[in-house]
Amino acid sequence: MSSKFLDGQLGFLLLVNALVVIASLFLVGPRFVGLYNLQSMAIQLSELGLLAFGVMLAMSAGRGGIDLSGVALANLSGVIAFMLTPTFATATESPLLYCWVFAGFCLLTGLAGGLLNGALVGYAGLTPIIATLGTQMLFTGIAVGLTGGSALRLGFIEPLDDFANTSVLGIPISFGLFLAIAGVLALFLKYSSYGVRLYLLGSNDNAAKFSGIKVKRMYLITYTLAGLLASVAGVIIAARTSSVKWDYGSSYVMVAILIAVMAGVKPEGGFGRVICVLMSAIALQLMSSLFNFMAISNFFRDCAWGLLLLIFLFASKVNITDFLRLRPSPATK
């Protein structure tokens, strides 16, 4: 609630970004910062960023919070929307309507999935890892079951495609949406009573209970938000690939966590800033594109991600007891 804007973490991330850009200028040349590449990076960034926000929320809420089900939910929402939308609108006759309905169903699915996670964590009291592990498999499973494992093609739907790929004032629409969401989220977390309570809850959920914070409902809201963000990612994915598939972006789970940890979100809860997540997502996207430009083996990139995660963990000071017991065990007092 009260902390100066440019803290160490943010400064550090800005530095990292600057370094990567400079390096790429030397290694690849101005092409790297050419408008088109910036746009294409921005487009790729959006879906990952949204998932990372979800992870950030879950982690900030504490109690060993984490959301492993993000990508699964994103894909599931795409699949379900794909199956339901035709009953309300056809892509050929009323493409615009189709897109809105599609998006609507995505968000509804995200809402439902998020509520499920929230209910499991908040009301049933499951450990977030187990809850979201279960729902991850459940969501994936449903998507596989519904599609028989194959991709469903939306085909070329003008407005949807524009949303994913065209730019206004040089900013891709989908990325614009992502930025807007980030802005609102940041404002919301910093200035709404929900935001203040979220971080208090994350730093000590027992005290939160004693001081009248509706803990269960807080978890419900938080994981529901994460679910919604995931489903927005689902829309972007569908629009970008003009198709939906259960296993799209199976590598995102870990990358989203990596982004969050790089952003200084504390795995034991109570800390996490939208702006930092944004910055670390950008840093990762820059690096990944740089690797592609330099035709560096993608296997090496996985390796690098892993090491990066460890390095940033090393950089962040994390409280020892929290990794031994993910939820403070009942005191023997």
Partner: protein, 528 residues
């Protein structure tokens, strides 16, 4: 008061270093900025019994944790049997025969009674090495012996019960059993009797005598002078991290000890003239919670301060939690201003105008890593809404700064994390948070535990002020002087019932104690 000369009214403590089992030299201990031990020197001799006395938060537990190797001392050194011990650790302490019953009992919740008692010994045997076979037979044997000593059953079912399924009193006995299981040179007990009945305490005392006879030294940490006197031995009085007196417990009067502990004559003088009952505020009718308390009835007037005390398992800890909606009651009714309340969660109570300052400010009260600001305003966020329903930071800061001034909190900056405050100041912030919600009824659970003299006084004055202004106050405490100084009436609980409610003017500490003692359970010594 730093350089206070230590009273040496005891022949035994002279040139004793030859015979001493443990010698402490100028031990200091700091936690962050908290200077918990300020140069403690002490000799502990075989077969001697010690009573470590002192106010809450003066450093007793810290001292014994240092002796038990649980905390490394910040400076100073420590000798056992004459030679200095380097890299002192729990396992080393155990192997040297220093056994401890910690204040939090330090039992492993998910292990069985037998394991909790027997494992330490096996560890010592293998001196800390874990790649050893577990000698189950020996473990059971140790456990059985120890359990017999404290007169707990030795049935297999009990031996294999998981500790977190035992009631608190039994846990305390198990912890004691663990301590007496080993062949100890020193047994330390940090407030071991808080949850025990008289008979259990007597039994414990017998155990202690046996140990003493075997030449084992025993160090009690306690607030209960009668126990000390009954047992006899050397009294060690601490004040604010310093050892201010070592002398025969028999020679020490309550007043004397009170003076030594606080550094001033404890004025039994009350903070306020008793109030004639005003307009009815709270009515509690037939309130009950299974396993905790049952048909509790009492009422509270506006501006009245009610004290509640009793033994640890008397239900005095659960009743306030029920009133505050933390652990709602299962039967009975609560009325505030004649309005019937249904309290399912804390928020209901808050909305109804009830504030609850919990017992343990570190885990239940404060968000230690978070700024004073957030801690202070979290209760009134909805009132701080500006345009767009967003929170108005300026008003929040303003509010917090006012609070810091009003309650004389010693703090550099409202954005500093609460953990950077001293114990007393932390407590003030916590109380401040609840006052901000201006409740009609404020419940304070152990309002001055771990708080030093200065802050104590401030906190009392705040409480009185609020009562003057018509707020109803309930104080739950086992610090009897505190109750007598602050309350208009004092309720005594035992066995989950509210035994009596006594107007304070016709009440002395002694009488109050007898009230606590009475009831179908026999009781332990009076609290100081």
């Amino acid at each position: 008061m730093a350089a206070q000369p230590i009273e040496q009214a005891l022949p035994t403590t002279r040139d004793s270093s030859a015979t001493a089992f443990i010698e402490l030299h100028e031990i200091h201990k700091r936690f962050g900025g908290v200077h918990a031990l300020k140069g403690v020197s002490l000799n502990i001799e075989p077969g001697q019994i010690y009573h470590l006395l002192g106010e809450n938060g003066c450093g007793k537990s810290t001292l014994i944790k240092v002796i038990a190797g649980a905390h490394p001392a910040s400076s100073g050194h420590l000798k056992v049997n004459g030679e200095t011990v380097s890299d002192f650790s729990s396992i080393k302490a155990l192997s040297l025969g220093i056994e401890t019953v910690y204040q939090d009992l330090s039992l492993l919740p998910n292990l069985t009674v037998a394991e909790n008692i027997g494992l330490s010994q096996q560890l010592v045997k293998s001196n800390g090495k874990l790649y050893r076979k577990l000698d189950s037979a020996a473990l059971i044997q140790t456990a059985k012996q120890a359990l017999r000593i404290v007169e707990l059953p030795v049935t297999p079912t009990f031996l294999n019960t998981q500790v977190d399924r035992l009631p608190i009193a039994t846990r305390q006995l198990v912890a004691i059993a663990r301590a007496v299981a080993g062949s100890a040179g020193l047994v330390i007990m940090d407030e071991p009797t808080t949850a025990l009945t008289k008979s259990e305490v007597d039994n414990l005392i017998a155990v202690v005598r046996k140990l003493q006879a075997e030449g084992v030294a025993v160090l009690f940490v306690t607030h209960k002078l009668d126990e000390c006197k009954e047992i006899g031995g050397i009294g060690l009085v601490m004040r604010d991290g310093e050892l201010v007196c070592q002398c025969d417990i028999a020679d020490l009067s309550k007043q004397r000890i009170g003076y030594l502990m606080t550094g001033r004559e404890i004025e039994q003088g009350r903070y306020r003239a008793p109030q004639q009952a005003g307009e009815r505020l709270l009515t509690v009718n037939q309130l009950g919670k299974t396993g905790a308390f049952s048909n509790v009835n009492f009422s509270l007037a506006k501006g009245e301060i009610l004290g509640i005390t009793g033994l640890l398992d008397s239900g005095r800890n659960e009743l306030p939690k029920a009133l505050a909606g933390v652990e709602p009651a299962s039967e009975g009714t609560i009325q505030l201003n004649g309005r019937l309340l249904s309290l399912h969660q804390v928020d209901d109570a808050v909305k109804a105008g009830i504030g609850y300052v919990p017992e343990d400010r570190l885990t239940e009260g404060l968000f230690l890593d978070k700024p004073i600001l957030d801690n202070a305003v979290m209760g009134i966020l909805d009132k701080l809404r500006g345009q767009l329903g967003l929170i108005d930071k300026h008003r929040a800061t303003e509010h917090t700064e006012n609070m810091v001034n009003d309650l004389a909190v010693v703090a550099s900056d409202v954005k500093a994390p609460v953990k950077s405050l001293s114990g007393g100041n932390q407590q003030k912030v916590l109380i401040g948070r609840w006052l901000a919600t201006d409740p009609q009824l404020l419940i304070l659970h152990g309002p001055t535990v771990g708080v030093d003299v200065g802050s104590k006084d401030t906190i009392y004055r705040i409480i009185q002020q609020q009562a003057e202004s018509g707020m109803g106050v309930i104080i739950i405490s086992d610090d009897l002087p505190e109750l007598i100084q602050n309350c208009d009436r004092i309720a005594v609980m035992s066995d989950g019932r509210m035994k009596t409610i006594v107007p304070v003017e016709e009440l002395t500490e002694q009488q109050l104690y007898t009230h606590i003692a009475s009831g179908n359970k026999a009781t332990q010594g009076v609290a100081l």
